[in-house]
Structure formats: C-alpha cells, structure tokens
Symmetry: D2
Subunit: 287 residues, 4 copies
C-alpha cells in the first residue's frame, strides 16, 4: 500500500521500518529530516512536508504530544491537506482526538494508539487499539499487522481508542505504585524485594507488566529511560483532563501524578517514569 509516516522518534522510526519491511511503499516526514536517514536507506521516500506524505491511501502519524500532532495536521502544509486517511498513533488527549475526528480532511480519520515500549515497536510486537469507521479500520488492517502483534477494535468513535490507551497507561503506573508500596513495606520489614516480586509474579500477578516494571524497581534501574517521567506526567495529565471533563474522581491517579512530580523534582527530567516508585521509597527514608 502507498502509505505516509510522520514522526520518526524512537517509536515512529521503528514502526515505519516495519512498514517498509512488510513491502509497503512508504513516504516519511520528520521535523528534523536527518532522522529519516536509516529509513531512506531502507527504501522509504523523504517528503518535504506533511501534506506530501499524505498523498497515498493512508498516512500514519506518531508524535510526542497534542501540540506536535496539531502542527503537522492542520494548515496548508498539513496532513488534512492531502487525500489520505489519517491514522493517528500518538498518545493524545481525548479532546484533541475529538477535534481530529471533527476536522478529518478528505480521507477520514482513525485513532489507533499503541501499547508497547521501543523494543516492542522494533519487534513489531505492539498492541494496536483502533477506533473509527469500519471501512477505514478494514483498510488499515494490513498496516496494523505490519507493526503489531494484535489489533483491538473499540468502536467507531475515534477518541474511544485514546481513552482506552490513556486508561492503559494509567493502569501501568497504578501497578508501579502498588509494587513500590509493597516492596518498600517488605524491604523495611526484612523481606528482600526480589523475593516479594518472585512470589507475586509466580502467583496472581503473572503478567508482563509486573515482570518488566518489577525488575526496574527491584534494581532501582531508571536510566536510560524507555519512557521518561516528564512524558509519563504529560500522559497522566491527559487522563486527568479526561477525568475532569467527565467528573470522575480518580484518587489513585492523583497519587501517581504526585509521585511522577516528585521523581522529576528529586531525580531529574531524564529518568524513566517507573521512577515514580522511587518517590515511594524515598518517602520511607530509603535511598
């Protein structure tokens, strides 16, 4: 398929590479064009503007935040100026997704945020959560197959996919908070953190998330960041905005946001978002 890809950060570059590898005809664009080098070497074409990347059947975007996505979407040079179906993979707010659905351009709009850290993107093991018109989702199916291990369709309102994605990110941080509190209690009570984690993941908590993040916490390994604390705080801010709009109290979200702020304040802007767990540990006088 003739497809554009906009946004070549660690996640986006890996996704675009998998599209090329799957045989699609890929045109890429990035604000800093040097990031496109490896993709062009692999056979992709470099576009001069977002709208140029939106001339095919589909154009996929993977940007850092609402603002960056808006910048490549709207305006004369933006995605909406081309005929392609816009598929947004970015983790954006519900309100932004609603705006994108309301002003979709000629080709239509699908929201398809993904779960997975950079290593999963490289391995084409992402989970894709997609929402939009059925015909649009059908058209994207081979593209989602090229970048992920499984696609979930969650309805025809694009922003629903973003709400699910944001909920999932919140759930990850909730699990980090829970583990951090339990590990700190265990540690101060004389039980090794690794021992606790082994029991938890060997019994009721036998899920990837507990193993991945549990290891980070046991080893106090928060650098280099797979996903930085400020980005995590941004995402949790999007969950908070949705909760405010829907009038939903979310006390656990409040804790998570507090601990991300604390982690950034005490550890710096470059730590992984799992360092929220370090705030728990420091609060108990451990270092």
């Amino acid at each position: 398929m003739k497809v554009g890809f906009i946004g070549l950060g660690r996640m986006g570059a890996a996704m675009a590479q998998n599209l090329v590898a799957a045989g699609h005809e890929v045109t890429v664009w990035n604000r800093s064009p040097d990031k496109a080098g490896p993709l062009v070497a692999a056979g992709a074409t470099l576009a001069a503007s977002p709208v140029e990347a939106a001339q095919g059947e589909v154009v996929m975007s993977m940007l850092a935040d609402d603002h960056a996505l808006a910048a490549v979407t709207f305006g004369a040079d933006g995605i909406t100026g081309g005929p392609a179906l816009h598929v947004s993979h970015s983790t954006i707010g519900v309100a932004m997704a609603e705006r994108l659905a309301a002003e979709p351009g000629a080709g239509g709009f699908v929201s398809a945020p993904v779960f997975g850290r950079p290593a999963a993107a490289e391995a084409a093991h992402l989970f894709v959560v997609a929402a939009g018109a059925t015909a649009h989702l059908d058209r994207c199916a081979p593209l989602f197959e090229a970048i992920g291990q499984r696609t979930f369709r969650v309805g025809d309102t694009p922003s629903a996919a973003n709400l699910v994605k944001l909920s999932g990110n919140f759930m990850i941080m909730a699990a980090v908070e829970a583990m951090a509190e339990a590990m700190t209690l265990a540690d101060k009570g004389g039980v090794d953190r690794r021992t606790l984690l082994d029991v938890l993941t060997g019994t009721l908590f036998d899920a990837p998330i507990y193993k991945t993040y549990g290891d980070f916490l046991v080893e106090d390994r928060f650098r280099p960041a797979g996903f930085t604390a400020p980005l995590g705080l941004k995402d949790m801010g999007l969950v908070d905005a949705a909760a405010t709009a829907s009038r939903v109290p979310m006390p656990l979200l409040g804790i998570v946001r507090d601990h991300l702020r604390s982690a950034i304040a005490t550890e710096g802007e470059d730590v992984d978002w799992a360092a929220a767990g370090l705030a728990v540990r420091r609060g108990a006088g451990l270092s």
Copy 2:
C-alpha cells in the same frame, strides 16, 4: 503423615479434605464441631480440643484472625501444649506472627499463609508462602503439595511469609482500585467496561487477578462474597499496622481502606471486598 487441622471454615475445610485425600492421617478440630461432619465422613478423626489435634508430627491452623488463632494456640488446651510443629496458614498480622515464633511450643513454628479463594482451596490450587527453619519446611513439603499448586520459601523468619501474604492481598485491592477508576473513566467517556477489560487483559494485564476481579467489576457482581469486605478491611488493617510499625507511607493503601469502608457503609457487611470498586463508581455519580 499424622497431622492435625484446626479451623474448618470454607478455606480450612477444603484444605483438610485435600490432606485426607492425599492419604494423610488427619485429626481435625473446630469451635463448632458440626463443621467437621464431612471430614469425619471422609476419614478424619474429630479432636476434643486443639491440643488433641497437636499430638502428631504437624498441626496446621486456618483461622479468621489474630484473635481466633491466639485462642486455639496458647493456654493449657492450645496447640502449644502438644508436640506437633505448628504451621499457621491464617492471614494474621506481622506482630502476631512474631509472637507465635517467639512462643512456638515444643514442636516449632512455621508460617505458611496461602493465596487463593475457596474454589482454589477445593481444587488444591493454592499458592503457599512459607517461612521458617529449613528442616521444618522440608517436613511440611508433602503437606503443602497436598493443598497447593506451588510453594514459595521466603526465608527463615516466619513473619516474613505473613508480610508477603499481606502485601499480596494489598496488591489485589490495588488492582481492583486501578481497574475501577479506569472503568469508571471509560464508562463515563462512552467506552464499554467490558471492551476496556478485554483490551487490558489481552495486552499488558494478562494475569488471573485482572480477569477474575475485572469480571466482578464489569458485572457489578459482589454477592455472594468469596471474601467479604469486612474481612478485606481487617486484612488491610494488618497491612496498615505493619506500615505504621515500619514507618512506611502507603497512600494507595489509604485509598483502598477508604473504599472498603465506603463499600461497607453503603452496601452492607456481606459484600465481596471487590465492592471497593463500587465506591469509585458511586463517587462519580454512577449506580
């Protein structure tokens, strides 16, 4: 092996049945002796007092709380009056476990709380978390095999096993809270709770706990209780006591305890502890 079993509630009765089924020579005792009927029918002997059940190699106990366990352990008629190794499966406080380890009776003491709801006890699928002297744990191995699917050894300080067990129960409630907040956000934002749960358990949260409790939450099914909210609140109180003693801030624990109180206040004493999630839902104006 000649083994006693004290405490024939839903969990204890199922565990004792599995010991009988595994060929052990079992003597049982319960405050209300009528609970022993099915076990006696299956071949167990009924003791007239706890100490009578503590005449074999090992005596296992499964009681409701610290108080009930103390009542069968200490004193002339208590477990510590017999020669058996006392293996405590109850979910008790860390301080109580320390007292039991300090006053073990002639046979010694092992703490071996279990993870699993009544159905898992019946199916001999419990997880056993055991701590105590290695020789003691070795002696108990065939008994643990008869009641559970896997045993974790977490050191030679008995109370360590209780700290792990309490941490695990806290983690369950933390997952319930996280799901309840995410589901409420999704629901008010137009995403079906079942859809959200399917995505979560199909991706990063592929663990039994999310499936079991997720179903309760999606269906608002909190009766009949597998484990009642007041018992859950008692357990979370034990976690809180350990956190106070160790000077560990646990804000997520605070939320969980609040929501258990709220669930009991609004729904009654007989709901499942998962009804803590209902407090989240009601706080957002849903019913």
Copy 3:
C-alpha cells in the same frame, strides 16, 4: 482618578460601584452591556469596547477565567491598545499572569486578585493581594482602598499575586475537606455536627473561614451557590497546573479536586464549591 472597569459579574459590578461611590470617574465595559445599567445610573460611563475603557490612568478587569480575560486584553480593541495601567483582579493561572506581564501594553501591568465572596465585594471588605512595580502599586493604592479592607503587597513579579491567591483558594477547600471528614466521623460516632463545629471554632479554629463554611456543612446548605463547584474545580485546576509546572506533589489538592468532581457528578453544576464536603458525607453512606 479616571479609571476603567471591565467585567461586571457579581464581583466586578460590586467593585465598580464602590469605585463610583469613592468619587472616581469610572468607565465600564461588559460583554452584555445591560449589566452596566445600575452603574450608569450611579454615574459611570459605558464604553463601547475594552480599549475605550482603557483610556484613563488605570483599567481594572474582573473576568471569569483566563480565556475571558485574554479576549478583552489582546487584539486591536483590547485593553493593551490603550494607555492605562492594567490591573487584573481575576483569578487566573500563573502562566496566564506571566503572559500578561510579558505583553502589558503601554501602561504596564499589575496583578491584584482578591479574597472575598460577593457580599464582601459589596461591603468593600475584600482583601487585595497585589504584585507589580512599586510605582504602579502606589498609583493603585486609592483604588484598592475603595474596594477592599486591606492590601497585601507580595513583590514585583505580578504572577506572585496569583500564586498566593490560588494557594488561598486551595487552603479554603482544604479546610472544607478537613471539616467534612471530622464532621462525618463525629456524626457517625454520635456527636452532633453543630457541637463539633462550636468546639472547633471556639478553640483553635477561630477564623472566619471555619465559621462560614462550617455553617454550610452543618446545614447541608449548598444552594444558591456563592461560588459554584465548577468554578472551584477550574481554580483547583489552575493550582494543579502550577504544581505540575513546579513539580510539587500536592496530595490534598488531589482529594479536593476529586471531591469537587464527585459533588458536580452527583449534585449538579449549580452547587456551591463547599459541596465537596458532601462527597465525603455520601462516601460514608450518609445522605
């Protein structure tokens, strides 16, 4: 003094009346010009645009939020098009105050948010918290005297005044939360809420805030709203934005925001922000 006043809601209209009463030559503007009737009757002049009201020495503004203030400030017809010193009394965000200070127009900028509900505005009993250049603050002194009982100068960075104002609003909600929790505990424990409030305000909590809001809570009196819950939630959102920007964990703020959301979800958009306390009460099963 020749002074403009923009924004004639309940607060602004009362403040403008007090300026007229103090003998100042007042020109007013409001988006719905009919609100200006009583002021014109009292001797004020009606301007046709914000910039027309900014032709004197000083122009004061009292708008609902950041957005409304930006709309009257910037652009050809806006305040910054005139020669007057702009004094902003609105409760706005720190970032917005920083922008106003950076783009002040010819006359300069002072931030001077106020404490007090509409009745205090009418009685010229507001507290004014002002920040800006000393010469500017000196020039405003007689105006502040006309609308308030006391002025606090908090430095020469205008946004500092907004941070203090937002902190104060947070403190009010914190006191409401504390009283609501204590009253609910007392009530369920058999102690009349009025009795508790009398002891508290007769001893250590002898401050206006506890008397005013304590009465609302004891009497469950949340309508008509002096300050609505959605406006309160908006303000607490501004505090949250400042806390996020400064990386400050504020768990009590999180509770307050949750309870405002809950109050709106269960009681409606028109309740007083003190209804946050009702969320506490309902969570305990009281109605």
Copy 4:
C-alpha cells in the same frame, strides 16, 4: 476540693500546679515519683498508689496513652478502687473511653480531654472538652476553671468528648498539611513562605493554629518537639480506629498519617508532629 491527680508529664504537672494554685487540696501520683517533687514543694501530697489518689471527691488523670491509663485505672491499686469521680484528661481512643464509662468504679466517670500545648497548660489556658452526667460535670466545673480558659460540654456520653478531641487533633494536622502544600508550591514558584503565611493569617486564616504551626513550617523548626511525631501518629491511629469502626472514609487522614510516618522515617523519633509538613517539602525536592 479534695482532688487527686495522676500522671505528671509536662501537661499533667502543669495542670496539677494550677489546681494547687487555685487552692485545692491535691494528692498526686506518678509512676516515677521524682516527677512529683515540685508539686510536693508547692503543697501537694504524694500518694503511694493510684487508688490512694482516688480517695477524695475527684481524681483527674493525664496519661500518655490507652495502655498507661488502663494500668492506673483498673486492678486493686487502681483508680476504680477508690470513691472518687474519675475525670480522664488523656487523649485516648473512643473504644477505651467506652470501656472506662462501662467500668467506672464507685465514683463515676467523666471524659474531659484538653486542647493546648504545654505552654497553654502552664498558663491555665487549656480548652476543656467534657462529657458525662450533668451532676458530675457540675462538680468538676471549679477544677476545669483552674486549668483552662473555657469548658465545652458535649453531652452525657463520655466518649463523645474523646471523639471531639481526636477530631480536633486531626484538624490541626490537616491545617499543617494544607499549609505545607501551599508553602511548597509558593516557594518553588518564587514566593517567600513568610509572605504567603502573612497573607493567609492576615485574611481568612486568622486563627491561632495557623500562626503557631505556620511559624514552625516557615522556619523549619521541628525541635525541640512540643508534641512528638510518634505521639501524633499514635493519635491519628486512634482517629483511624474510630473511622474504621464507623465505616468513614477519611482520605485526608490517610495523607496525614503517611506524612507522619515519613517524617519519623527521615527525621527521627524526636521531631515535632508538625514535621509532617517537612515530608511534603522533601517530596518536592526541597530540603
């Protein structure tokens, strides 16, 4: 009046001195009799046991906790062995007060906890919150006048007074938490803590509690402790026990307890309970 006084810590000794100064015939008892020296020098008589101090009309007690009070109350040598009306000033739990009311001894029981730090006790400026039979309260009136500035009667159920006292202590900690969060936000935003405090106490928060504790926070002055963090944590544990018994969610109480634990963990056992505010500050990366 012939009156006994049991418990001569900083608070009790000051109260007993004021009774002597008011002309009452005072018999004192303390576990470490050397503490009684100054009182005996002032004219008090030293008793050899609690029951000896309970031979007059009234015996007042001021002990550290439930356990210490039970030790001097019950048993052959205890207060209940004498004919005196027992007036308990200690900060004890609701359940303990209920037990004291149920087993009052011959003279009856009044609960009369006090508000005020040691300096207030010395100045006879305590606030007395009393509950019990009217005839009993009438008899105590001159004694309460000798130790305090004002007495509040809160009904005829003694434990009601304890619930009010515990609620008040919780309210103090809530105010500390609110100030600490606001001050940290202000500080990181460039507003001096003293400036913020001056505005708050000069406007809506013109109450002794904000001045006293606000000074501690502004100056980071937490030693020597007027009331230590572990004692504060003990009191907040009593509030928590009452909330658990009554099924009342108290999220702000949860925060306060967490921050007291954190303060003790990081600062040591000897800091003032106001150091809970330091936990807020440290969580934001300030020291």
